[in-house]
């Protein structure tokens, strides 16, 4: 499903039909049929290809958040000064880009997972996050491809006591998603500094996989960090 496709094209997956059909010179019709929804857009372009790839899972049903919160099905107790790699699953959103002059333009986003949202922290100073509950794996799991990806998180307890980790917050500004035809992955680290405080960040390289197109990027003059600070509990 992923990768560059020559226009016109047609894909069917999980009862979802995606196609671009020619409607005259430089005029195309983009259609997506999914469950009971049908989306149709006219494309007036001389682009010859589209790119389909996973994107940061914060765009659906509309972009209201820049954070992803993964709640662990079983909390982890991590000893002081210990590092442990864990694998979690995260929801996938798929972007369809029009390839034009090496500047891909997003024309559609869809997902095979119903999005959920949650509040991290208090209503005044917290953040609204895309929410997902995940089992904790200690070996790379096999997830439902196109629905869930795998994120490996290196947990690093720099606190002098045991800490309990119930949830992990990620900032979409720093997300680096990698993919091929069988897997979708991210790599991150979580530095725990206190019983209730931690910092998460992404590692920007996974060998052997293609890097996905980034949608959520910091503006040039913006001071948005790519890290997520967890100040309201782990």
């Amino acid at each position: 499903m992923f990768g560059k496709k020559k226009i016109p094209f047609q894909i069917e997956k999980y009862e979802t039909k995606l196609q671009i059909v020619s409607h005259g010179e430089k005029k195309f019709l983009y259609q997506r049929e999914m469950n009971e929804t049908k989306i149709q857009k006219t494309l007036l372009t001389n682009a010859e290809e589209v790119l389909i790839c996973p994107i940061e899972p914060v765009m659906l049903p509309k972009e209201i958040s820049n954070h992803l919160l993964i709640e662990l099905e079983d909390p982890i107790f991590l000893q002081a000064n210990l590092k442990q790699k864990v694998y979690l699953q995260f929801p996938i959103e798929i972007g369809v880009f029009l390839e034009h002059d090496s500047d891909p333009e997003l024309i559609d986003v869809f997902s095979f997972v119903t999005p959920e949202y949650s509040l991290y922290g208090d209503p005044r100073s917290g953040v609204i996050c895309r929410y997902c509950k995940s089992p904790v794996y200690y070996k790379k799991p096999v997830t439902e491809f196109l629905k869930y990806g795998i994120i490996s998180v290196l947990l690093e307890n720099n606190h002098s006591h045991f800490v309990q980790i119930n949830q992990i917050l990620f900032n979409a500004f720093g997300m680096k998603i990698f993919y091929d035809e069988r897997t979708i992955e991210m790599k991150a680290k979580m530095k725990i500094t206190d019983k209730t405080m931690a910092e998460t960040d992404f590692i920007s390289r996974i060998s052997g996989l293609k890097k996905s197109q980034e949608i959520i990027t910091p503006k040039k003059l913006s001071i948005s960090s790519t890290k997520a600070l967890m100040m309201e509990g782990l």
Binding site: P115, Y117, L119, Y120, P123, Y131
Partner: protein, 276 residues
């Protein structure tokens, strides 16, 4: 000819002000307006994507007032007014004007405090003393609201500052409630399970704080189920409009009816000794 022209432009019009001075003042005013517009336009274009509307408006106002002050000082120096003398005179005049224009000064000071304390920002939905609307502008003397009927309401800053202000969007999330009344013969547990299932499929019904669904009251005609839902503040109203009808339809599809007000009348039948 040149001499005549020179004498004309050097001619004193009023209190030592010559025609040259008048021209200079006019040019300063035109240049100030022109420069203000150019800078405002440039900043609006460059910063629109980088600042929110409220910050952008504040920045534009600061630029406006700065250019206005510079132009005024320049004009005063051309007119020959001594600023130190003006300050002394201004002190006395200030007291007089202060008494005469208490409400204007009150509005001005309230405006400054509104800008510092910032209980409301441009674009926010608020309720000021019973007037509900969206803040369109906060200027130094007044605050402009657009109510939900599209009417523009100008409120003096003094009134705004001393009023009870409810800001509907200052927090990230907001709760709304429904009361769903079902018949006594229907199973409330089934109804609760159906409602919870609907809420789970709605992306903007927040997982945390979790929605609450419970039997709240055994009413006169119905078992009242309370539904309390938290949603992002930007989405709550659309969600509130959508969910109630969806709950009603789904309950009815599954055989649970919304109760009507009803009254059972028992009448005595003396012949059969049965009461009905």
């Amino acid at each position: 000819m040149i001499e005549k022209f020179n004498s004309l432009i050097q001619k004193e019009l009023l209190g030592g002000i010559t025609l040259v001075d008048v021209f200079q003042i006019i040019i300063i005013i035109i240049v100030a307006i022109f420069v203000t517009r150019i800078i405002r336009l440039y900043i609006r274009r460059q910063m629109k994507a980088k600042l929110n509307k409220d910050q952008l408006e504040l920045m534009l106002k600061i630029i406006n007032y700065t250019i206005m002050i510079i132009a005024t000082i320049w004009i005063l120096s051309i007119v020959g007014l001594n600023l130190s003398g003006l300050l002394v005179a201004g002190g006395i005049a200030g007291i007089v004007i202060g008494f005469a224009s208490q409400s204007i000064v009150g509005n001005l000071i309230s405006g400054i405090f509104l800008m510092i304390e910032r209980p409301l920002k441009i674009g926010e939905a608020v309720n000021i003393n019973g007037t509900i609307g969206i803040i369109e502008n906060i200027s130094i003397l007044s605050t402009v609201l657009r109510d939900y009927d599209g009417l523009q309401i100008r409120m003096p800053n003094e009134n705004v500052f001393t009023s009870k202000i409810t800001n509907y969007v200052s927090n990230l999330v907001r709760r709304f409630n429904y009361v769903v009344g079902i018949r006594y013969e229907d199973d409330a547990n089934d109804a609760i399970a159906i409602i919870q299932e609907i809420l789970q499929t709605e992306p903007f019904v927040l997982v945390n704080p979790a929605p609450l669904v419970f039997v709240d009251e055994l009413g006169d005609s119905s078992v009242n189920i309370m539904v309390k839902i938290w949603a992002p503040v930007s989405e709550w109203y659309a969600l509130k409009q959508k969910l109630l009808w969806q709950i009603k339809k789904t309950l009815e599809e599954k055989g649970i009816e919304i109760a009507f007000p009803q009254c059972v009348v028992w009448m005595e039948n003396k012949n059969s000794n049965n009461k009905k």
